[in-house]
């Protein structure tokens, strides 16, 4: 009977727990609906007060002595306003954040123990804290919580001073890849004011930090960083770094860097040669065509791919060079050249120009014939079946036939 009593007791408990669980689930939903409504009312009230302040310049009582929740609501609204306002109105809004006590409250909260309170405070101080918030936010970058570090990094990017950039660049040395990537994205957001710190990291950072610094400098197209990038491309201790420096020089796109890039085209590591090819393509100087042609017969596929794509970026001279590759000895080079001509729409254009008079038509016919001789006919045959114009289809078929017969 004792077992029965236990089980009966269990049944009662089960029943109670189930009812409670269902009630809590539905209760949560109900509470959320109610809270959303209440929040909406509060937002309307705060919005009216905020608008009034922006017009009059006076802080109304409705915006003074707000509770924590209302303060967060007000901050969220002010952040939205910030993205819409410019000039003096924007300054007035930042001043208002100080006058309502919002900034002070968030500085206090930054010292609280709860990490989500800290996170909210950091997020908002990024917008309203000004340069003096940079130091406490930089301290947060060392916090053990990844998300909190991310929030602090974003906030520092919003502040955007050289000090903020310095703190972020320091964190490029962090062991967590996510942290490093986040720092890089925020440094890029800061832009030119971050260049000093980035250049320093490029010189003295740990290996992953140096790679990222080169990448950000390239993305920011920093002309002044070119000597350091050239040096890194030449002397960098490991291939990833040299490759990233080459890529960055390509993004900056200054023709004065071509000699250094041509030198790096001889690098023993294929990732470097591959990025050099991309960089030369981005700069687009026809004088580099011979080097790119050489890279199209590289032993590594990625180098050949980038080199042939680079040639496709060089206008008519590059296209001619690609067409010449179709006549080459190496089968892989021929295939790659044909594939590049196809993917860049050059083949299609040539097919349209087959009947054109003069040099244009001659060039087009030479290219199609070279493709047929190289065996790259699958795409051409598809075009010969699917082109909308019957005349163009017939011309293509005829040119292909002639090429085969010759």
């Amino acid at each position: 009977m004792q077992v029965l009593a236990i089980i009966l007791w269990a049944v009662t408990v089960m029943f109670a727990l189930n009812v409670m669980m269902i009630a809590v689930t539905l209760g949560i939903k109900a509470a959320r609906v109610l809270r959303r409504r209440r929040t909406q009312t509060k937002i309307e009230r705060l919005e009216a007060a905020l608008d009034q302040t922006l017009i009059s310049g006076e802080v109304p009582p409705a915006l003074r002595h707000l509770g924590n929740r209302d303060l967060d609501l007000l901050a969220t609204m002010m952040v939205e306003y910030l993205s819409l306002l410019r000039g003096t109105e924007r300054d007035r809004l930042v001043r208002l954040a100080k006058e309502t006590g919002l900034v002070r409250a968030y500085f206090d909260r930054l010292r609280s123990r709860g990490r989500w309170r800290k996170a909210r405070a950091a997020e908002n101080l990024g917008y309203f804290g000004g340069p003096e918030a940079a130091a406490p936010l930089a301290n947060l970058l060392a916090h053990r919580d990844e998300t909190l570090r991310a929030v602090a990094a974003r906030a520092l990017a919003h502040i955007g001073t050289p000090e903020a950039a310095g703190a972020l660049a320091q964190m490029l040395n962090d062991p967590s890849e996510l942290t490093r990537l986040r720092m890089a994205e925020n440094l890029e957001r800061i832009g030119t004011l971050a260049v000093g710190s980035l250049s320093e990291t490029l010189e003295r950072g740990n290996p992953p930090a140096r790679v990222l610094a080169a990448r950000v400098l390239g993305n920011l197209r920093v002309h002044d960083a070119r000597p350091a990038l050239r040096e890194t491309m030449r002397e960098g201790a490991f291939p990833d770094l040299r490759a990233q420096a080459a890529l960055a020089l390509g993004k900056i796109g200054d023709p004065d860097d071509i000699p250094a890039l041509l030198e790096a085209a001889e690098d023993g590591a294929w990732p470097v040669r591959a990025q050099v090819a991309s960089a030369l393509g981005a700069i687009g100087d026809v004088s580099t065509i011979p080097t790119l042609q050489k890279l199209t017969v590289d032993t590594e596929w990625w180098v050949r791919l980038n080199a042939s794509r680079a040639l496709a970026n060089m206008g008519p001279a590059g296209e001619k060079a690609l067409a010449r590759l179709l006549e080459g000895e190496d089968r892989y080079t021929r295939d790659r050249a044909a594939a590049t001509l196809e993917e860049r729409g050059i083949t299609r254009r040539a097919v349209r120009e087959l009947d054109a008079p003069g040099e244009k038509g001659e060039g087009a016919r030479a290219m199609i014939r070279a493709m047929v001789r190289a065996g790259a006919v699958r795409y051409l045959e598809r075009l010969a079946r699917t082109l909308p114009d019957e005349g163009a289809r017939e011309t293509l078929r005829r040119t292909m036939r002639e090429a085969r017969e010759s």
Binding site: V3, L4, I7, L8, A10, V11, M14, F15, L17, N18, M21, I22, V24, T25, L26, I28, K29, R32, W116, A119, R120, E123, E146, T147, L148, A150, V151, R154, S176, E177, L178, L181, R182, A184, E185, E188, N219, W301, L305, Y332, D335, R336, A339, E342, E343, R344, G345, R378, Y379
Partner: protein, 470 residues
């Protein structure tokens, strides 16, 4: 021992077993609750959108095996290509389709034959060709038929990027699915694989391969499965992941670090539970290589899939799942109770062996002993009724708690009625559905012993748009 004593002993054994499994569930739920609460708070400040626009996220190769999918493949590929991620390529592996899957893709994306090399680090059926698109980051690998695992392996070989996302061709993903699932990988270099929550798409509305409205379906069978999926994914896998004991990353959607996947040997073609087998093998190989690693789970609904809505197809699916589980346990039996494999060998493998593999047998034994006990008068009527009600109550509690976790953290069902309905199905599943599942799984053991390697085809009805729903 006379028969009555035997029946009574069996009943007490089953009672003990029942209490043990529910105690484990209780602990798993508590861990999941803490984990999900933390995840949701973290989400608020995660800044996914900023990472997405920054181009600093590591690139991902999305591998999609396709077999006779000519009707839907274009839409699927387009939806994968438009996922929010800074840099990703889509690799479709045409696994020797007998329909026009390859032709449709060639036509739609203007594919041309590529000379891109494949790093053949895994064995696959012979390749016929590799094609790429001139405008999209799309690679199509055409190969002889070799099955889903074989196709996935070919796709992994073709992948250029360090992170590989393997998925079913007919899965529907949330736009930021890749970002969410890649996050643990970017966060820590030691994360070897990540799984995500798979949700039931039946009843929901879709437009152009995207989910537009979440609703529960009309038919009862998919509703039972919604509750089941909530329990399995939200409440249980989250906890296993916290303990670094996750033994299964669903084959419908999972992300892997390519080098670890290759180290483990890729998908195995001679099992019907290739997803669980791979995850378990990754644990084993990484442990044997003394690697510090983690296999993670993102408690976020990022992928939606159509589930069976007939008993015949569902039965076949469950049969296959259970055979896959047994096969994995048999293949990796040396991990069982082996401290060398850490919590996987000491907690997860024993749990899966005792409670998942043997569960249906013991449950059926329990039903038989219970009926026999009542019939022979060994167990008295009120006791039987009370025990039965307690068991049902506990079963319902697990379901209502899963619905509670869903509402607390993820809020994917906006309508009140859906919540009430799911709770009702959580009650109803204890009367028939649960027993049917137990029977299917028990029969799967017989089927496994008979060496059945049948896959059990899924019949898909296709995703519904708003008009079709109306």
């Amino acid at each position: 021992m006379n028969p009555s004593d035997l029946i009574l002993t069996v009943n007490y054994f089953v009672l003990g077993y029942f209490l043990a499994i529910n105690a484990i569930y209780f602990v798993l739920y508590l861990i999941s609750f803490a984990e999900i609460a933390d995840y949701v708070r973290r989400e608020i400040f995660s800044g996914f959108s900023e990472l997405f626009t920054s181009n600093y996220a590591p690139p991902v190769s999305v591998v999609v095996p396709a077999y006779n999918e000519e009707a839907t493949i274009t839409e699927s590929v387009r939806s994968f290509l438009t996922l929010h991620y800074p840099l990703h390529e889509v690799i479709v592996v045409n696994d020797g389709s007998s329909d026009g899957t390859l032709e449709v893709l060639m036509q739609e994306f203007g594919l041309y034959e590529s000379d891109q090399p494949m790093r053949m680090q895994l064995e696959t059926a012979p390749l016929r060709g590799i094609y790429t698109s001139p405008t999209e980051r799309l690679i199509v690998v055409d190969k002889e038929n070799g099955g889903k695992s074989d196709a996935l392996n070919a796709g992994i070989c073709a992948a250029s990027y360090p992170l590989v996302c393997c998925m079913d061709a007919d899965i529907i993903l949330e736009e930021d699915a890749l970002l969410r699932v890649a996050r643990p990988m970017i966060e820590s270099g030691s994360v070897a694989a990540v799984g995500g929550i798979i949700r039931v798409a039946n009843g929901c509305e879709f437009e152009k391969g995207r989910l537009v409205k979440v609703k529960t379906p009309r038919k009862p069978l998919p509703n039972f499965q919604i509750v089941e999926y909530l329990r399995a994914f939200i409440a249980v896998r989250t906890a296993w992941s916290r303990l670094n004991c996750l033994l299964i990353i669903s084959g419908a959607f999972g992300m892997f670090r390519r080098r670890d996947l290759i180290l483990a040997g890729g998908y195995s073609s001679d099992t019907v539970g290739e997803d669980m087998e791979l995850t378990t093998r990754m644990h084993r190989v990484l442990r044997e290589n003394d690697r510090k690693y983690k296999i993670s789970f993102v408690p976020d609904p990022i992928a939606w899939t159509e589930v069976p809505d007939t008993l015949r197809v569902l039965g076949r699916q469950r049969d296959r799942w259970h055979r896959g589980l047994i096969d994995t346990l048999v293949r990796h039996r040396r991990m069982l109770f082996n401290p060398r494999y850490g919590p996987v060998g000491l907690i997860a493998m024993p749990y899966f062996f005792i409670f998942e593999f043997l569960g249906p047998v013991i449950e059926l034994l329990g039903y038989a002993a219970f009926v026999a006990g009542v019939a022979l008068g060994v167990i008295n009527g009120p006791f039987a009724l009370a025990f039965f009600l307690a068991a049902v109550g506990l079963g319902v509690l697990l379901s209502t708690a899963a619905v509670f976790l869903e509402e607390l953290s993820l809020e994917r069902y906006p309508r009140w009625w859906d919540l009430v309905k799911l709770t009702l199905y959580g009650v109803l599943e204890n009367f028939g559905y649960r027993q049917l599942n137990t029977l299917w799984r028990a029969l799967a053991i017989v089927s496994f012993l008979r060496n059945n390697t049948n896959w059990g085809a899924m019949e898909r009805k296709g995703f519904r748009t708003r008009e079709e729903n109306e």
